[in-house]
Symmetry: C2
């Protein structure tokens, strides 16, 4: 006799997703590491960063021009003796002689005594003197220390994903290394006697293993470090050994296959006795799901049809993994159906769809084996559990892939 759970016993998508999220969210407090600033692009900052210096570090010139006392150029034109030249990077600590000018390059220190800079465009020079054609007020074209950032001031707050503009600021204050969160580490274990690695010849009954490669790519795209991708034949000892390795090195384990109602469900057979909960979620594709905490590590067990695996990842794992990586949430928006859609009652359905000028159309069929067709989709069309017939023009939510 086969168990026949009533449809109503299936958990809702949101309920199941929230269960997974509650298991994974504690990873927000995971380990941190120090990385070199030039290698920090896209990393999630683990602490508030305050500036160890003030910027500008010293009074400097905003222009190529002449540093003078504003009092010397109140009446213009006026010709002043030239007391020297300060290039960017030079010391610039010699005071400006009374009534003189010093040539300064952009970024060069302003000599003590000078309080404004006359842009080179407003001058005429002959080597010994400079004629200032237009006067300036005290402070003009002078960059004062600390006007960009002060010592101890917040530069970049914790939980920022470091973008080039943040990295520019960190480099400008001389920080060499910054604390970032280690990425969440995922291990992937696919199962199935029928699966063969790419490049191998197919014997009758065999297919290529796409789930390991596809789950690894999806996790990486969401900021996860994929520490291993292993494949298990449908032998409980082999699967159990691979799982033990996976839980030793990863924060979360993703498995595919072996969770359904067949005679050889290696994932369910191994994990259910270890406390795994295997059951039905009211979703299509991806109905059979398993969830186990093994050696303290959450193990998410997705069904093995390639589209089921990817939709399960997308719906149940991706939102929380992106949250943990500090990445923007999955984009969900309303679109109009280009054509009518039928859907089974009682199950939320995620159809592969493509955006067009007119709205969203489904691509490929609903079959969970249509993995090539999925490549043409750019969204998942989210059909509510209670909808069975949606007319063309109906508004649906789509999740952008």
């Amino acid at each position: 006799m086969n168990a026949r759970p009533a449809r109503t016993s299936a958990r809702s998508v949101d309920d199941y997703r929230e269960t997974i999220e509650a298991l994974l969210r504690p990873l927000a407090a995971r380990a941190t590491e120090a990385v070199a600033v030039p290698e920090s692009l896209g990393r999630l900052l683990a602490a508030d960063l305050r500036s160890p210096v003030e910027l500008p570090v010293f009074r400097n010139s905003a222009m190529d021009g002449y540093a003078v006392r504003a009092a010397s150029v109140v009446v213009a034109p006026v010709t002043l003796p030239l007391a020297g030249v300060i290039a960017a990077g030079q010391d610039g600590r010699a005071p400006l002689p009374d009534g003189a000018a010093v040539k300064v390059m952009t970024g060069a220190p302003i000599p003590p005594g000078a309080d404004c800079v006359i842009p080179v465009e407003d001058t005429e020079a002959d080597g010994a003197t400079v004629t200032v054609l237009r006067g300036r007020s005290s402070g003009e074209f002078v960059r004062e220390p600390g006007t960009d950032v002060k010592v101890g001031e917040l530069l970049v707050p914790a939980n920022t994903v470091l973008a080039p503009r943040h990295i520019a600021a960190l480099a400008a204050v001389g920080l060499a290394r910054v604390p970032v969160f280690a990425p969440v580490r995922a291990a992937i274990v696919t199962t199935g006697d029928e699966l063969v690695a790419a490049g191998e010849p197919l014997r009758p009954g065999q297919i290529y293993n796409s789930n390991g490669i596809a789950l690894a790519a999806a996790a990486r795209a969401d900021g996860v470090a994929v520490v291993s991708v292993a494949h298990s034949v449908d032998d409980p000892r082999v699967f159990r050994d691979l799982l033990a390795t996976a839980t030793r090195s990863a924060d979360v384990v993703l498995t595919s296959g072996g969770v359904s109602k067949g005679d050889f469900e290696v994932v369910k057979d191994v994990l259910a006795p270890l406390g795994g909960v295997f059951g039905s979620v009211a979703v299509q594709p991806g109905g059979p799901q398993g969830l186990t905490v093994l050696d303290g590590v959450p193990v998410l067990s997705f069904p093995g049809n390639p589209v089921s695996t990817m939709v399960s990842y997308e719906v149940f794992a991706r939102p929380v993994l992106r949250e943990l990586a500090g990445l923007p949430p999955v984009t969900v928006r309303a679109e109009r159906l280009v054509e009518p859609v039928r859907s089974p009652a009682g199950r939320r359905q995620f159809l592969r769809g493509r955006l067009t000028e007119a709205g969203v159309e489904s691509v490929s069929g609903p079959g969970s084996h249509l993995v090539a067709g999925m490549a043409w989709a750019d969204v998942l069309i989210d059909i509510p559990a209670e909808a069975t017939d949606l007319p063309a023009g109906a508004t649906v939510h789509v999740r952008v892939l």
Copy 2:
């Protein structure tokens, strides 16, 4: 005497950007390389990929259940002898005996002679026989070969940035390696005697070098391979040597500093005699710009103030580099100004801005040295060259950083 180019001689932002784009676009025909499918995430596909196999590869079951002839189950319930079990991965070439059933798992081959699958939920079995409670028509729950993709059918078109769903499809048809474009290679050469590497102590007049690190991060974020980041003191021989190295290994060279009106403009001094065009673009920050083709390699010379460098990259280099990497264009959208803005006449201004509920507000000041302040910006506010006073509530375009 100093040259004083009239403001009207400055080139427009769009004109200058288009000149740079015309120089860089031929890189769309750059070298390709073969990468392993699991390493192909985010790479730009260099050729149409057609399927070397059909999917499904063989007739297989969409369900855990019993493969039968539909003719045997026209009248249900009906009890059939059980002729065996076919698991996924098994051969499945033995024909179905007349009037019998074979147990099949999802993905298992359908034996010759069977033409539909009865889901396990609609059966009762005792080991020797199976009772089918509900009949099915020919074809139900049978996946026919080639219904997902046929041999030679387009799987993923050239110029696709490979996402997990594409990688799933490539893996499913057994492709091990795929042709992708090599990334555009950039070399970065910063200049300035005043610049010191992070971690070193600052002497008077010195500042930390942020431009090399920031430009490298920005280029990497746009899919560019940064092959070198070098710094040159303001010595023409040193700069010339570093440039020669850069042009040997890169498709494009970015320099910062040394392009303005000072006495020690090493970039302009070296490159202008080699055919470089140095002049003024009607933009703030980032007015002084240089463009050279050296040893066949475009050299984009940005001014050295950190904000000028980054805005120059953003406005002149980023759009075409993203296009070459197959990445989506920079997002530009209309926003309302939260506060009034003043801008110099005749120059398009890019202010650092931050989005709020009420619209966009400027952060930090307009000064091109305010690199720490730039970290708080999430957009550049694009103020047209002709605008001098924009009131609060005015609509402006912003470029999302």
